[in-house]
């Protein structure tokens, strides 16, 4: 009967419905005998039954007031969930996009600057890139071109647009208050622009809950940018770093949240 013991494959076929009905009946008889080996298997293997089982177990207990949570905890959750929230009004993004387009034309200068300042091999791998932003005021259609270093309200959100001169892997990172958040990752297969988006929709980054200097760094490279590259941020910002395939270019904007 050992062939009837639960295995990952048996569980998978049982749950997906691929199991033969006769084998299902044998398995049911086997499990009804409270097989210790199968119990040990289930004990050691996280599986898709975990959610349903915990949901069923949760219905047995008496309600516990202690576990209800509070406003403070939810505020922390909300702040993180809304870090990158899709626009709720499509027209707003169209206006933001139009506003951002006003600033075209500076990328050539950025690329030239980079090549002049970087080592030759790295310069070809680190993709010249430009990060721009608009400030989205809450509760209105007011939009304003963002200028690095400006003061902004904690009620506002920031919309970002990225421009690259060659195909590139991109990462947008926030640094502030000792935190380091990766806000956005993308691969742009051709030179051009991309709007920071969430779930396929243009997104704005809410500043609520943040205070003080917030730096937003765009990393761009011809090769994939790994976590170690992001962790290396902090030194040499604005100049690019890395070697060989890992050479990364950086553009940066910053705001002071009040």
């Amino acid at each position: 009967m050992s062939s009837l013991h639960l295995t990952e494959d048996t569980c998978r076929r049982l749950l997906s419905g691929e199991i033969h009905p006769e084998q299902a009946r044998e398995l049911r008889r086997h499990l009804a005998r409270e097989c210790e080996a199968c119990e040990a298997f289930l004990l050691a293997h996280p599986d898709p039954l975990d959610g349903p089982v915990d949901e069923a177990l949760g219905r047995v207990a008496k309600p516990s007031g202690e576990a209800r949570g509070d406003d403070l905890e939810y505020a922390r959750i909300e702040r993180r969930v809304r870090r990158l929230a899709p626009f709720t009004r499509p027209g707003l993004w169209a206006a933001a996009a139009a506003l951002l387009l006003v600033f075209s034309g500076a990328l050539v200068f950025v690329e030239k600057s980079w090549r002049a300042g970087g080592e030759k091999g790295q310069a070809l791998l680190a993709v010249p890139a430009r990060l721009r932003f608009a400030v989205v005021e809450p509760g209105s259609r007011a939009l304003a071109r963002g200028e690095s270093g400006q003061r902004v309200s904690a009620e506002a959100s920031l919309a970002f647009r990225i421009e690259v001169s060659r195909p590139a892997y991109l990462v947008l990172v926030r640094l502030g208050e000792g935190e380091r958040d990766v806000l956005f990752r993308a691969h742009l297969a051709h030179a051009g622009e991309i709007d920071v988006s969430e779930g396929g929709r243009p997104a704005a980054f809410p500043l609520n809950g943040l205070r003080g200097l917030q730096r937003f760094l765009l990393l761009a490279s011809a090769g994939p940018i790994g976590s170690s590259d992001v962790l290396a941020l902090g030194q040499g910002v604005g100049e690019g770093w890395g070697a060989g395939e890992k050479a990364v270019a950086v553009d940066e904007v910053e705001v002071r949240v009040e």
Partner: protein
């Protein structure tokens, strides 16, 4: 009594919307709906974390926060919105096990989790014995436990519900890992009965 509890689990949310509507609104960024989901599922998510006695209160808070952040951020990807409850509980368990693995330095647990993570939702969609049947299955599993420390632990945690596994360990004067193991063993028994029910359904499909 059992019927009342089962109904309570599917009762309308605090703002009166049903589960699917609530999740749909939350997925569209409705703050009130997201808060309602938090209010509704916070106790169950916390319970999953509190079943691991090795996790301290800070760890439990981490599990709760991370679970809701991940769930609310990824709501648009949830295909079956009426399964939100079991989905976020699975997220919570994964997070709790991640923290536990850090405590135990047992990386193989994480590897197992990664293997099943990508398949969880399709399987979940096919698993629905009904609230009443699942509740009865849990109640029966508790009733069949032999009188002793394991049953007492299960009673304190899953029936009385007021104590965390860590607090139960202190009350019973037993090591934290022993309490975690008792609760996990009980969950494995429930899982086994649930699988037997699924096997029954699969076996009946050809009749």
């Amino acid at each position: 009594m059992a019927h009342d509890r089962a109904n309570r689990a599917r009762a309308p949310s605090p703002d009166g919307a049903d589960e699917v509507q609530l999740v749909a609104r939350a997925a569209e960024g409705d703050g009130a709906a997201q808060r309602a989901l938090y209010e509704r599922y916070r106790p169950a998510v916390s319970r999953v974390a509190r079943s691991f006695a090795e996790l301290d209160p800070d760890d439990v808070a981490d599990v709760v926060q991370e679970s809701f952040v991940r769930a609310l951020r990824n709501l648009r990807g949830l295909k079956n919105q009426e399964r939100f409850g079991r989905w976020i509980l699975a997220i919570a368990r994964n997070r709790a096990l991640t923290l536990l693995a850090r405590h135990r330095a047992a990386h193989e647990v994480l590897e197992k989790l990664k293997q099943v993570a990508g398949h969880a939702e399709p399987f979940l969609e096919r698993l629905d014995l009904g609230v009443e049947a699942e509740h009865e299955l849990v109640r029966r599993t508790i009733a069949e436990l032999a009188e002793g420390p394991e049953k007492e632990t299960v009673r304190l945690f899953y029936v009385e519900g007021g104590l965390s596994a860590r607090e139960i360990a202190e009350r019973l004067g037993v090591g934290k890992s022993a309490i975690t193991m008792r609760l996990e063993r009980f969950r494995a028994k429930v899982k086994m009965k649930l699988l037997a029910e699924v096997a029954k359904l699969r076996g009946d499909e050809s009749n």
